[in-house]
């Protein structure tokens, strides 16, 4: 419990706090006056001044930061330069990104575990080598390049899948599945490679334990040794890195969404950067950063929970 508190107070909250200041300051540092951008270059100085006042741009910086953070915490991120509220924009794009990340996460972990377990129990044999090569390819080729290549093959040449867009899952489940398959696969590739490497190493390590030798010595079949004695302990370290993958998926989906014109937060962000839509940039960044930090925190806590030695060394201050 002490460790949890220390980790929260000394690392999580300070980092979130400083990051939120940076995100707030970003809009200040960006070239151009938001009021002018919203009204267009031809606006009269009076109109600009009025809008600046309405947007609160004429108030001191710290006050604006506190107002901004306060309303952001209640889910109000202000008005985008498109005229809609940022919350409305997020309401349509956030589910798309979550859906993509969740499906990619499921595919990536399932594939990764299957590959890693296969490789681990056939160590040094052909399946292990095949999985190793696939894993190296998946890690080496960036997901958006892999995405572009599978887009070319499966959407343009073979025409098995559509090349762009999203269909809500409740409207037409089959079409929804067809649309999400390629982007989810592209995003899942790296996850499966990382999980597979980790799982393989973990199984290889566990299989060297004395109790595995005992299990074999008492005449258990190899199948029983692996299913009953090796698999469960080897999954513990793997569980802890699964959380980290989810955080990274949200970052990775920014580019993948662009490849498959998936109408998620990533596309919204890129559009906002090109049109200098500060409130939208800030909202998405804040969401991505806090999600990422939360998953990192959960992962760290999971580590500590699984390995009391780490907890002891952390609480003495390292």
């Amino acid at each position: 419990m002490n460790y949890v508190l220390a980790r929260l107070v000394r690392q999580f909250f300070p980092t979130v706090f400083v990051a939120s200041i940076l995100i707030f300051m970003l809009a200040e540092l960006l070239p151009g006056d938001p009021a002018v951008i919203a009204l267009g270059e031809t606006a009269t100085p009076d109109a600009v001044a009025a809008l600046r006042h309405e947007m609160g741009l004429d108030r001191p910086l710290p006050e604006r930061y506190i107002r901004w953070l306060g309303s952001a915490l209640t889910g109000d991120f202000g008005r985008s330069t498109t005229g809609k509220t940022v919350t409305d924009l997020l309401k349509t794009t956030l589910p798309a990104t979550l859906e993509l990340a969740f499906i990619a996460f499921t595919i990536g972990n399932t594939l990764g575990l299957a590959m890693g377990i296969t490789a681990g129990i056939t160590r040094g044999k052909l399946p292990d080598a095949v999985v190793g090569v696939i894993g190296s390819l998946l890690i080496a080729v960036p997901s958006f390049v892999a995405g572009l290549l599978i887009l070319l093959v499966f959407a343009v040449w073979l025409e098995w899948f559509p090349s762009a867009g999203r269909v809500p899952i409740f409207e037409n489940p089959l079409e929804a599945l067809r649309h999400i398959t390629l982007p989810a696969l592209a995003l899942a590739g790296v996850v499966s490679a990382v999980i597979s490497r980790f799982t393989r190493q973990s199984i290889v390590d566990v299989l060297t334990n004395d109790y595995i030798r005992t299990a074999r010595a008492k005449g258990l079949s190899e199948r029983a040794v692996i299913l009953r004695h090796a698999l469960r302990p080897s999954m513990l370290p793997v569980v802890t890195i699964i959380g980290l993958q989810l955080g990274g998926l949200f970052g990775g989906s920014i580019v993948i969404e662009q490849v498959f014109t998936w109408p998620g937060m990533g596309r919204l962000l890129i559009g906002a950067v090109s049109s200098k839509d500060y409130p939208t940039i800030q909202a998405i960044t804040l969401l991505l950063v806090s999600t990422y930090l939360t998953f990192n925190l959960l992962t760290d806590l999971m580590y500590a929970w699984l390995d009391p030695r780490l907890r002891a060394s952390m609480s003495t201050g390292a």
Binding site: L137, A140, V141, V156, I281, L288
Partner: protein, 304 residues
């Protein structure tokens, strides 16, 4: 297999026992060992072809990357235009070559500058400890809170587009990683006997850092460097693909991927060529860093 590993290990111990004598024969042995691994062969030969493509082809190729040839829009690959032509009737072979060159130059520039800054910050943090360390380390934690490409996107939003600001964004992206690594090496090395000895004979702090710690920990950075180049080139290409990189008409790999994506139904080589180049580049750099890491780290070589 086992014997080979042992020979290689003895070989390496031999080199390690004579620091500073990494002369031409040592380098030749080094390259020879790289070639003993199939991944090394693949990586070095692919990199050689890609480097010739990026740096020699633009010098000797007769066509300009900006020249439009009337009536030759979105052509298939032919003996005249090896990769076809783009929507503005420009030769894609030369545009890919120049694009790869600017992506590579930008990536290496970003890594070098990001690493120089990071190493200085990391050394300062690790050596001075106390408040300086806290400030530097917490700042790096904050930068690392922005997942992957997000930090680079925000920096581009801040600096604007262009090769210079692109390289600057990617350089800053590299800083937290190199700072952490440098800080960790200083913390680990500063309790070693040779550092204590240097301090005892009255060496100044910067001298210890530069003449003793930096020289003795070069290997750590040598392994990390290819990984950083991989990440930087990848981020450069991704930013270009997102339309946040260098402005047209200058070609970059990322920009070509973006344009190729738009015209993939009309002319697939437009997309395939830069995608294949980038994939091959990433594969060979990854393999190179794997092989280098295993050569320099006997523990990792033993596993597997």
């Amino acid at each position: 297999m086992r014997d080979n590993a042992q020979v290689a290990f003895a070989d390496e111990v031999g080199i390690l026992a004579k620091p500073g004598r990494f002369g031409s024969s040592g380098f030749a042995r080094f390259v020879k060992r790289l070639f003993r691994d199939p991944r090394g062969v693949f990586a070095l030969s692919t990199l050689f072809v890609l480097l010739v493509f990026a740096f020699i082809v633009p010098l000797v190729h007769p066509t300009s990357p900006f020249e439009s040839i009337r009536g030759e829009r979105l052509l298939d690959p032919s003996s005249e235009h090896w990769f076809g032509t783009d929507e503005l009737s420009r030769d894609l072979f030369i545009r890919n070559a120049v694009g790869l060159r600017s992506t590579l130059l930008g990536g290496v520039l970003a890594v070098v500058s990001g690493w120089l800054l990071g190493v200085v910050l990391g050394y300062a943090a690790g050596y001075s400890k106390g408040i300086v360390d806290t400030i530097i380390s917490r700042s790096m934690d904050t930068l690392l809170a922005f997942p992957g490409i997000l930090l680079a996107i925000l920096l581009i939003a801040l600096f604007g587009t262009g090769l210079g600001s692109l390289a600057l964004a990617v350089a800053i992206f590299n800083v937290p990683f190199s700072t952490r690594l440098a800080r960790a090496t200083v913390l680990r090395e500063s309790v070693r006997d040779y550092v204590l000895a240097a301090r005892a004979i009255g060496c100044s702090g910067p001298r210890i850092l530069y003449r003793h710690i930096a020289i003795n920990t070069l290997g750590v950075f040598a392994v990390q460097l290819p990984i950083s180049i991989v990440n930087s080139v990848l981020i450069m290409a991704a930013l270009g693909f997102l339309g946040l990189g260098v402005q047209p008409p200058n070609p970059t790999l990322g920009g070509l991927l973006n344009d190729g994506r738009r015209f993939m139904r009309l002319e697939y080589t437009y997309l395939l060529a830069p995608a294949a180049i980038l994939a091959l580049l990433m594969l060979s750099l990854n393999f190179l860093s794997d092989v280098l890491g295993e050569m320099l780290d006997p523990v990792r070589r033993g596993k597997g």
